[in-house]
Symmetry: C2
Subunit: 388 residues, 2 copies
């Protein structure tokens, strides 16, 4: 049995086991610029998925930072986000200084974001090992998470290795990237043979059967030197721009330099920019290591995933997970209903997702909740900016 | 084609055709003491179904009065309600004096309510003909409605006749009372053979096939003298009490007399108290006349009935009737969604009824919406009085 975090985590600062040795060179970089449109109407441009308390009382980004604090003191963290979210993130993470929360002037996906952090750290701490962490995932076993990270940091610190945490697939998911593992590197670690972005259902089923495929968790570890070298090799234009921005850090020109030059970077993910071309060199030469990460990972991709995740942690009567000021159910089964300000009555309904917010009401099904992003696309197109 | 009232009736006072001759002895009594719990969460103890604008901009009771105004000047109307609703009814019906809106100290069903009106009128206008009208029904063809009422008033004014308006059944409804018509009385009017309260499905189907059965509309016409005599015969104790209360009308003792004595009346409907025992005398001697009323009647018994009624009047895309601050639908069909303050997004849902209110959210199906009353029973039992 995995250790399951309690349903209602305390809002007090988490107790940290100070006996844990923090790695002196480890710097966690939290990527928090996403929108998470599939959690509309709760997720908005100024209150994205990572800033919501979807699983417990603390928000996703608060949980992301808390579970890393035993590995790095607060001043080692960087958060990379956008101008819409910067202020709220600073509010939610009072242990971080405001200068540690960088707002991209425009979103450029993960490669420029983590690249900027790498160039900044290279100047400050040439031996730094960087961990890149999405800010909106849940992790069931946090002790195990930290144990695997410590192993990963050691692998990343030794030479030119790029470490990616891989999750053993449990279903033929078509929404994730897959990692094909090659030869064994060490215990639970493999050389990466190939990356495959979102496969179709047939290929996904094949990967599941094959046994040597992992889901790409989006968590990477590498030294600042390895990452900056990789950027110079695979994304030379962006590398030059990012180096220029990093050189201005701490000066009065930083904000204007950041705003002026960052948009020149390509809009591209780490996976496409570095990992896929690098892996084409062959598993020996690419130095990409997949570390099998069995810590109960879930990226909470939709209301349906959240419903499943919470159901797995705790049984609710008839599968109804209702947040409300009281509730009445009759012939109601497997519904996710979020209307925290209201009394909720559900009569004769099954497999629904209903989410109430002050200005919008979502009514969908567990089956179709992955289409919620289409609502946000519609609202964007119609310029209904108050609702997005 | 019947004349269909426009979707959004003006809130200005309705223009009245003054060429219509009002019947000098006709007094409409509007019964407005019901709760209409199946329209929860919109209907509440202090804002019952009849006070809601369920079909257009004007409320059900405003429409009830408006469609009768060409037949009787405002001072001829009486409204019988309860203390929770009295003030709001007075607000909604500014043409009526406050003294015309009586609040029962306790609900005693229709027999005592209409009986009180009869004893009051007998003192004031011995030749009065009383019409008893529910305050929460819709009528599609109001001209036809008034034409039939004029005929009914004539029948009621002549002798000891009790006139009930009967609706031709269109389905084997088990929720209504049925009237079995006997011999012909005059054009479109029959002597009543028997009343049958809510039959089971098999009997209801038989009534539909037989062809000589009508739904009991709850609209009755009779002279004050006939009604008071019938009460003295069939409900002697209540008749005595009501006569005593009526005698105090206009004096300073009226309020206290009403409050003290009215609760002594039996809690019973006109149908059970008078019509059923009277009809047992045989169709010749009972003098109960059923007038066939083909004016597009609907008692809007549930959210489902309201959805059907509004769909019959106007086509909505995919059968979705959505009140909201804008809406987005995708694979959504035949839903009734009321969230007038919010943007509504419905994705992949069918046959749902969703009603938002400031403190409660209802989620049910068109099929199960008749069970909404059970929610109110639960709330009553749990003494959650703010929600009922």
């Amino acid at each position: 049995m995995r250790r399951i975090p309690s349903e209602k985590p305390s809002s007090r600062p988490e107790k940290i086991d100070t006996r844990v040795t923090t790695n002196p060179n480890f710097y966690p970089i939290i990527l928090a610029g996403g929108r998470g449109t599939r959690f509309w109407p709760l997720s908005r441009k100024r209150r994205a998925k990572q800033l919501l308390p979807l699983d417990g009382k603390r928000t996703m980004i608060q949980q992301t930072v808390s579970r890393l604090l035993p590995l790095a003191v607060p001043k080692r963290f960087w958060v990379i986000t956008n101008e819409y979210l910067q202020r709220e993130i600073a509010r939610q993470l009072p242990r971080l200084a405001k200068a540690q929360i960088l707002a991209e002037p425009v979103g450029r996906n993960t490669a420029p974001a983590i690249g900027l952090a790498a160039f900044l750290l290279l100047r400050k701490e040439p031996g730094a090992v960087i961990g890149m962490f999405p800010s909106d995932h849940v992790i069931a076993d946090e002790d195990r998470f930290r144990q695997i990270l410590r192993e990963g940091v050691q692998i990343a610190a030794a030479g030119e290795n790029i470490v990616v945490l891989g999750i053993r697939p449990t279903r033929p998911e078509t929404g994730y990237g897959y990692i094909e593992a090659g030869s064994s590197f060490e215990d639970r670690a493999f050389r990466v043979r190939r990356f495959t972005e979102k496969p179709d259902a047939e290929r996904a089923a094949g990967f599941l059967v094959a046994g040597n495929y992992f889901w790409n968790s989006g968590i990477f570890l590498w030294s600042a030197r390895t990452l900056t070298n990789a950027l110079r090799e695979h994304l030379p234009k962006a590398a030059q721009v990012l180096e220029q921005i990093a050189a201005a850090f701490g000066t009065r020109q930083f904000a204007s330099t950041f705003r002026k030059f960052y948009p020149k970077c390509e809009n591209i993910s780490v996976d496409y920019a570095i990992l896929e071309p690098r892996s084409a060199k062959g598993e020996r030469d690419s130095n990409i290591i997949c570390l099998s990460a069995d810590f109960g990972w879930n990226d909470l991709g939709s209301w349906t995933a959240l419903h499943e995740h919470r159901m797995a942690k705790q049984q609710f009567p008839d599968g109804n997970l209702i947040s409300g000021q009281g509730a009445f159910t009759l012939n109601a089964e497997r519904n996710y209903i979020h209307a925290p300000q209201k009394f909720v009555a559900a009569v004769g309904v099954k497999n629904l997702v209903v989410v109430d917010s002050p200005d919008a009401l979502l009514i969908t099904t567990l089956e179709q909740a992955q289409d919620v992003g289409k609502i946000v696309k519609y609202l964007d197109k119609k310029k209904m900016s108050k609702l997005v």
